[in-house]
Protein backbone atom coordinates (compact mmCIF):
# COMPACT_ATOMS: atom_id res chain seq x y z
CA UNK A 1 0.00 0.00 0.00
CA UNK A 2 1.50 3.39 -0.97
CA UNK A 3 2.29 5.83 1.84
CA UNK A 4 -0.26 8.61 2.36
CA UNK A 5 0.44 11.63 0.15
CA UNK A 6 -2.21 13.85 1.80
CA UNK A 7 -3.96 14.52 -1.52
CA UNK A 8 -7.43 13.32 -0.59
CA UNK A 9 -9.50 13.34 2.59
CA UNK A 10 -8.81 9.63 3.03
CA UNK A 11 -5.06 10.08 2.59
CA UNK A 12 -5.00 13.06 4.92
CA UNK A 13 -6.83 11.19 7.69
CA UNK A 14 -4.49 8.26 7.21
CA UNK A 15 -1.51 10.56 7.56
CA UNK A 16 -2.97 12.11 10.71
CA UNK A 17 -3.54 8.66 12.21
CA UNK A 18 0.14 7.93 11.59
CA UNK A 19 1.11 11.01 13.57
CA UNK A 20 -1.34 10.12 16.33
CA UNK A 21 -0.08 6.52 16.50
CA UNK A 22 -3.68 5.46 16.05
CA UNK A 23 -3.58 2.97 13.20
CA UNK A 24 -5.26 -0.07 14.74
CA UNK A 25 -9.00 -0.48 15.08
CA UNK A 26 -10.91 0.38 17.15
CA UNK A 27 -9.48 3.86 16.74
CA UNK A 28 -8.90 6.16 19.67
CA UNK A 29 -9.83 9.11 17.45
CA UNK A 30 -13.01 8.31 15.52
CA UNK A 31 -13.63 9.23 11.90
CA UNK A 32 -16.13 11.91 12.85
CA UNK A 33 -13.78 13.66 15.23
CA UNK A 34 -10.97 13.70 12.68
CA UNK A 35 -13.27 14.99 9.93
CA UNK A 36 -14.34 17.74 12.33
CA UNK A 37 -10.70 18.51 13.04
CA UNK A 38 -10.02 18.65 9.29
CA UNK A 39 -12.86 21.10 8.69
CA UNK A 40 -11.86 23.28 11.63
CA UNK A 41 -8.23 23.30 10.55
CA UNK A 42 -9.17 24.29 6.99
CA UNK A 43 -11.28 27.15 8.35
CA UNK A 44 -8.42 28.30 10.54
CA UNK A 45 -5.95 28.02 7.66
CA UNK A 46 -8.25 30.31 5.68
CA UNK A 47 -7.87 32.85 8.48
CA UNK A 48 -4.08 32.64 8.37
CA UNK A 49 -3.55 32.14 4.64
CA UNK A 50 -6.63 32.97 2.56
CA UNK A 51 -4.51 32.72 -0.58
CA UNK A 52 -4.49 28.93 -0.20
CA UNK A 53 -8.20 28.82 -1.01
CA UNK A 54 -8.45 31.24 -3.89
CA UNK A 55 -10.93 30.05 -6.47
CA UNK A 56 -11.61 31.76 -9.77
CA UNK A 57 -13.49 34.73 -8.34
CA UNK A 58 -13.28 34.43 -4.61
CA UNK A 59 -12.19 32.39 -1.64
CA UNK A 60 -13.84 29.04 -0.97
CA UNK A 61 -12.99 26.76 1.93
CA UNK A 62 -13.97 23.12 1.32
CA UNK A 63 -15.80 21.24 4.06
CA UNK A 64 -16.25 17.48 4.31
CA UNK A 65 -18.72 15.14 5.98
CA UNK A 66 -17.09 11.77 5.53
CA UNK A 67 -13.83 10.09 4.72
CA UNK A 68 -13.72 9.76 0.96
CA UNK A 69 -11.48 10.09 -2.05
CA UNK A 70 -12.40 13.77 -2.43
CA UNK A 71 -9.34 15.83 -3.28
CA UNK A 72 -8.44 18.59 -0.82
CA UNK A 73 -7.77 21.61 -3.07
CA UNK A 74 -4.67 22.83 -1.28
CA UNK A 75 -1.29 23.08 -2.99
CA UNK A 76 0.96 20.11 -2.15
CA UNK A 77 3.51 22.20 -0.28
CA UNK A 78 0.85 23.30 2.21
CA UNK A 79 -0.61 19.89 3.04
CA UNK A 80 1.91 19.15 5.77
CA UNK A 81 0.89 22.12 7.96
CA UNK A 82 -2.76 21.11 7.45
CA UNK A 83 -1.91 17.61 8.65
CA UNK A 84 -0.13 19.06 11.69
CA UNK A 85 -3.11 21.29 12.42
CA UNK A 86 -5.52 18.36 12.37
CA UNK A 87 -3.28 16.26 14.60
CA UNK A 88 -2.86 19.13 17.05
CA UNK A 89 -6.57 19.77 17.21
CA UNK A 90 -7.30 16.09 17.78
CA UNK A 91 -4.72 15.85 20.55
CA UNK A 92 -6.17 18.85 22.39
CA UNK A 93 -9.11 16.63 23.27
CA UNK A 94 -6.95 14.45 25.47
CA UNK A 95 -6.45 15.24 29.12
CA UNK A 96 -3.08 13.61 29.53
CA UNK A 97 -0.19 15.98 30.11
CA UNK A 98 2.04 14.48 27.49
CA UNK A 99 -0.66 15.02 24.85
CA UNK A 100 -0.87 18.72 25.70
CA UNK A 101 2.79 19.08 24.88
CA UNK A 102 2.45 17.18 21.59
CA UNK A 103 -0.66 19.16 20.66
CA UNK A 104 1.24 22.40 21.24
CA UNK A 105 4.12 21.18 19.12
CA UNK A 106 1.83 20.33 16.21
CA UNK A 107 -0.16 23.55 16.44
CA UNK A 108 2.93 25.75 16.72
CA UNK A 109 4.45 24.06 13.71
CA UNK A 110 1.21 24.45 11.81
CA UNK A 111 1.11 28.20 12.51
CA UNK A 112 4.80 28.65 11.92
CA UNK A 113 4.77 26.90 8.56
CA UNK A 114 1.83 28.97 7.34
CA UNK A 115 2.81 32.38 8.64
CA UNK A 116 6.51 32.28 9.47
CA UNK A 117 5.58 33.51 12.95
CA UNK A 118 6.32 31.59 16.11
CA UNK A 119 3.49 32.35 18.55
CA UNK A 120 3.98 32.15 22.28
CA UNK A 121 3.54 28.70 23.78
CA UNK A 122 0.14 28.29 25.42
CA UNK A 123 -0.08 27.22 29.04
CA UNK A 124 0.02 23.48 29.41
CA UNK A 125 -2.23 21.71 31.87
CA UNK A 126 -1.30 18.93 34.25
CA UNK A 127 0.07 18.38 37.71
CA UNK A 128 3.19 20.36 38.63
CA UNK A 129 6.36 18.34 38.87
CA UNK A 130 7.46 17.42 42.44
CA UNK A 131 9.82 19.90 44.07
CA UNK A 132 13.40 18.86 44.27
CA UNK A 133 15.01 19.03 47.69
CA UNK A 134 17.24 22.03 48.32
CA UNK A 135 20.93 21.30 48.40
CA UNK A 136 22.45 20.59 51.75
CA UNK A 137 19.17 19.78 53.50
CA UNK A 138 19.58 16.01 53.35
CA UNK A 139 21.51 13.83 55.77
CA UNK A 140 25.26 14.10 55.44
CA UNK A 141 26.82 11.54 53.25
CA UNK A 142 28.90 9.02 55.02
CA UNK A 143 29.35 9.65 58.77
CA UNK A 144 28.74 7.25 61.57
Amino acid sequence: MPPPNLMTVEQMIKGVRNLLLDKIRPYRYGDTSLIAALNITLNDARRLRPDLFISRYGIEVPQYEEISGAVIPVEPSFRLPIEYGIAGHALLRDEEDVQDSRANTFILNYINMLTGQRPSVPVEGGTPAPRSKPRGSGPPAGGE
Binding site: R49, D51, I54, S77, M113, T115
Partner: protein, 214 residues
Protein backbone atom coordinates in the same frame (compact mmCIF):
# COMPACT_ATOMS: atom_id res chain seq x y z
CA UNK B 1 -4.50 37.56 -26.56
CA UNK B 2 -2.76 36.05 -23.60
CA UNK B 3 0.47 36.21 -21.72
CA UNK B 4 3.30 34.20 -23.23
CA UNK B 5 3.01 30.79 -21.49
CA UNK B 6 6.75 30.14 -21.25
CA UNK B 7 7.42 33.61 -19.90
CA UNK B 8 4.57 33.15 -17.45
CA UNK B 9 5.98 29.87 -16.15
CA UNK B 10 9.36 31.52 -15.80
CA UNK B 11 7.86 34.45 -13.91
CA UNK B 12 5.93 32.23 -11.50
CA UNK B 13 8.99 30.08 -10.86
CA UNK B 14 11.18 33.12 -10.20
CA UNK B 15 8.57 34.57 -7.86
CA UNK B 16 8.32 31.35 -5.87
CA UNK B 17 12.09 31.17 -5.57
CA UNK B 18 12.18 34.66 -4.11
CA UNK B 19 9.09 34.21 -1.92
CA UNK B 20 9.57 31.31 0.45
CA UNK B 21 6.23 29.82 1.39
CA UNK B 22 4.14 31.70 -1.15
CA UNK B 23 1.30 29.85 -2.83
CA UNK B 24 0.94 29.83 -6.60
CA UNK B 25 -2.68 30.92 -6.29
CA UNK B 26 -1.64 33.89 -4.16
CA UNK B 27 1.04 34.90 -6.64
CA UNK B 28 -1.39 34.74 -9.55
CA UNK B 29 -3.93 36.83 -7.66
CA UNK B 30 -1.27 39.46 -6.93
CA UNK B 31 -0.12 39.38 -10.55
CA UNK B 32 -3.53 40.73 -11.59
CA UNK B 33 -3.05 43.82 -9.41
CA UNK B 34 0.54 44.28 -10.55
CA UNK B 35 -0.45 44.25 -14.22
CA UNK B 36 -3.35 46.59 -13.57
CA UNK B 37 -1.06 49.15 -11.97
CA UNK B 38 1.54 48.64 -14.68
CA UNK B 39 -0.85 49.28 -17.58
CA UNK B 40 -2.77 52.08 -15.88
CA UNK B 41 0.30 54.07 -14.98
CA UNK B 42 2.38 53.40 -18.09
CA UNK B 43 -0.38 53.59 -20.72
CA UNK B 44 1.66 51.16 -22.79
CA UNK B 45 -1.23 48.89 -23.83
CA UNK B 46 -2.92 50.74 -26.66
CA UNK B 47 -5.28 49.81 -29.46
CA UNK B 48 -6.59 51.60 -32.52
CA UNK B 49 -10.31 51.04 -32.86
CA UNK B 50 -11.85 51.98 -36.23
CA UNK B 51 -15.41 53.27 -36.49
CA UNK B 52 -17.50 54.77 -39.25
CA UNK B 53 -19.03 58.16 -38.38
CA UNK B 54 -22.64 58.74 -39.27
CA UNK B 55 -24.14 62.14 -40.07
CA UNK B 56 -25.29 64.07 -36.99
CA UNK B 57 -24.30 61.29 -34.60
CA UNK B 58 -21.78 62.24 -31.94
CA UNK B 59 -21.81 59.21 -29.64
CA UNK B 60 -20.07 55.94 -30.50
CA UNK B 61 -19.47 52.84 -28.44
CA UNK B 62 -15.89 51.61 -28.61
CA UNK B 63 -15.39 47.86 -28.31
CA UNK B 64 -11.77 46.70 -28.10
CA UNK B 65 -11.11 43.76 -30.40
CA UNK B 66 -8.30 42.39 -28.26
CA UNK B 67 -9.69 42.19 -24.71
CA UNK B 68 -8.89 44.62 -21.93
CA UNK B 69 -10.72 47.54 -20.34
CA UNK B 70 -10.53 50.96 -21.99
CA UNK B 71 -9.34 53.54 -19.47
CA UNK B 72 -8.17 56.47 -21.59
CA UNK B 73 -8.78 58.06 -24.96
CA UNK B 74 -5.51 59.06 -26.61
CA UNK B 75 -7.03 60.70 -29.64
CA UNK B 76 -9.29 60.36 -32.66
CA UNK B 77 -8.18 60.75 -36.28
CA UNK B 78 -10.22 60.93 -39.46
CA UNK B 79 -9.52 59.17 -42.75
CA UNK B 80 -6.88 61.76 -43.63
CA UNK B 81 -5.13 61.26 -40.28
CA UNK B 82 -6.19 64.70 -39.12
CA UNK B 83 -7.06 64.93 -35.42
CA UNK B 84 -10.74 65.10 -34.54
CA UNK B 85 -11.91 66.82 -31.39
CA UNK B 86 -13.48 64.27 -29.10
CA UNK B 87 -13.68 63.08 -25.52
CA UNK B 88 -14.74 60.07 -23.47
CA UNK B 89 -16.81 60.99 -20.39
CA UNK B 90 -17.84 57.36 -19.87
CA UNK B 91 -15.33 54.63 -20.37
CA UNK B 92 -15.60 53.18 -23.89
CA UNK B 93 -18.15 55.77 -25.02
CA UNK B 94 -16.64 58.17 -27.52
CA UNK B 95 -18.21 61.56 -28.15
CA UNK B 96 -17.23 63.75 -31.09
CA UNK B 97 -17.08 67.42 -30.26
CA UNK B 98 -18.81 68.38 -33.51
CA UNK B 99 -21.41 66.15 -35.20
CA UNK B 100 -20.36 65.05 -38.70
CA UNK B 101 -22.18 66.91 -41.47
CA UNK B 102 -22.52 63.77 -43.54
CA UNK B 103 -21.69 60.07 -43.48
CA UNK B 104 -17.96 59.64 -43.63
CA UNK B 105 -16.60 57.73 -46.63
CA UNK B 106 -13.71 56.37 -44.59
CA UNK B 107 -13.25 55.01 -41.11
CA UNK B 108 -12.11 57.21 -38.29
CA UNK B 109 -10.00 55.54 -35.68
CA UNK B 110 -9.74 56.08 -31.97
CA UNK B 111 -6.55 55.24 -30.15
CA UNK B 112 -7.26 54.07 -26.61
CA UNK B 113 -5.26 52.95 -23.59
CA UNK B 114 -6.32 49.75 -21.89
CA UNK B 115 -5.68 47.71 -18.78
CA UNK B 116 -6.44 44.21 -17.59
CA UNK B 117 -9.91 43.29 -16.46
CA UNK B 118 -11.99 40.26 -15.60
CA UNK B 119 -12.55 37.53 -16.63
CA UNK B 120 -9.22 35.86 -16.07
CA UNK B 121 -8.17 32.71 -17.90
CA UNK B 122 -8.91 29.17 -16.80
CA UNK B 123 -5.40 29.08 -15.33
CA UNK B 124 -6.26 32.09 -13.15
CA UNK B 125 -3.99 34.38 -15.16
CA UNK B 126 -4.97 37.89 -16.26
CA UNK B 127 -5.51 38.49 -19.97
CA UNK B 128 -2.80 40.81 -21.29
CA UNK B 129 -0.74 41.19 -24.47
CA UNK B 130 1.84 38.49 -25.12
CA UNK B 131 4.63 41.06 -25.31
CA UNK B 132 4.05 42.18 -21.72
CA UNK B 133 6.28 39.56 -20.14
CA UNK B 134 8.57 39.20 -23.14
CA UNK B 135 9.59 42.83 -22.78
CA UNK B 136 8.86 43.84 -19.20
CA UNK B 137 9.14 40.61 -17.21
CA UNK B 138 11.91 41.96 -14.96
CA UNK B 139 9.83 44.95 -13.93
CA UNK B 140 6.67 42.88 -13.53
CA UNK B 141 8.62 40.45 -11.34
CA UNK B 142 9.82 43.35 -9.21
CA UNK B 143 6.25 44.56 -8.78
CA UNK B 144 5.04 41.08 -7.97
CA UNK B 145 7.74 40.31 -5.43
CA UNK B 146 7.48 43.78 -3.88
CA UNK B 147 3.74 43.57 -3.40
CA UNK B 148 3.96 40.04 -2.01
CA UNK B 149 6.69 41.02 0.43
CA UNK B 150 4.56 43.95 1.55
CA UNK B 151 1.89 41.58 2.84
CA UNK B 152 1.96 41.21 6.62
CA UNK B 153 2.30 38.08 8.74
CA UNK B 154 3.48 35.83 5.94
CA UNK B 155 6.56 33.69 5.62
CA UNK B 156 7.77 36.02 2.86
CA UNK B 157 6.98 39.36 4.53
CA UNK B 158 9.89 41.81 4.29
CA UNK B 159 9.18 45.52 4.39
CA UNK B 160 12.70 46.58 3.42
CA UNK B 161 12.87 44.37 0.35
CA UNK B 162 9.30 45.27 -0.53
CA UNK B 163 10.29 48.94 -0.74
CA UNK B 164 13.34 48.04 -2.85
CA UNK B 165 11.39 45.96 -5.36
CA UNK B 166 8.50 48.40 -5.60
CA UNK B 167 10.91 51.24 -6.34
CA UNK B 168 12.35 49.20 -9.20
CA UNK B 169 8.80 48.44 -10.35
CA UNK B 170 7.95 52.15 -10.51
CA UNK B 171 11.11 52.72 -12.54
CA UNK B 172 9.95 50.03 -14.95
CA UNK B 173 6.58 51.72 -15.29
CA UNK B 174 8.29 54.98 -16.21
CA UNK B 175 10.44 53.21 -18.82
CA UNK B 176 7.36 51.57 -20.34
CA UNK B 177 5.50 54.88 -20.31
CA UNK B 178 8.24 56.74 -22.16
CA UNK B 179 8.72 53.89 -24.64
CA UNK B 180 4.98 53.88 -25.41
CA UNK B 181 4.88 57.64 -25.88
CA UNK B 182 7.73 57.38 -28.39
CA UNK B 183 6.29 54.28 -30.06
CA UNK B 184 9.40 52.34 -29.05
CA UNK B 185 11.57 54.45 -31.34
CA UNK B 186 15.03 54.99 -29.97
CA UNK B 187 15.94 58.65 -29.78
CA UNK B 188 12.47 59.89 -30.60
CA UNK B 189 11.43 63.24 -29.19
CA UNK B 190 8.58 63.59 -26.82
CA UNK B 191 8.11 67.23 -27.80
CA UNK B 192 6.19 68.65 -30.70
CA UNK B 193 4.86 71.96 -31.81
CA UNK B 194 1.49 72.90 -30.32
CA UNK B 195 -1.47 72.04 -32.49
CA UNK B 196 -1.84 75.42 -34.20
CA UNK B 197 1.79 75.36 -35.27
CA UNK B 198 1.98 71.75 -36.33
CA UNK B 199 1.83 70.41 -39.86
CA UNK B 200 2.53 67.11 -41.51
CA UNK B 201 5.07 68.32 -44.05
CA UNK B 202 8.72 69.15 -43.68
CA UNK B 203 8.41 72.28 -45.78
CA UNK B 204 9.93 75.21 -43.99
CA UNK B 205 11.15 72.98 -41.23
CA UNK B 206 14.16 70.91 -40.48
CA UNK B 207 14.37 67.28 -41.46
CA UNK B 208 15.69 65.09 -38.67
CA UNK B 209 16.37 61.44 -38.33
CA UNK B 210 14.03 61.31 -35.38
CA UNK B 211 11.02 63.24 -36.52
CA UNK B 212 8.58 62.36 -34.19
CA UNK B 213 6.04 62.45 -31.61
CA UNK B 214 3.34 59.79 -31.86
Amino acid sequence: MALDPRETQQLLAQAQIKLTGASEAGIKAELYDVLKEFFEDSSCWQEDIPFLPVANQTEYLLAPAQDGQIIRLNGVWDGNLSPVESYMPDFATLILRWPPQSDSPANFFARVTKTVTLPITRDALPVAPDWTLRVYSIHILDGLVGKMMGQQQKTYSNNTMAAYHLKRFRTGIQLAKVAAERANLKGAQNWSYPRGWRNNSQRGGVSTAYPTRF
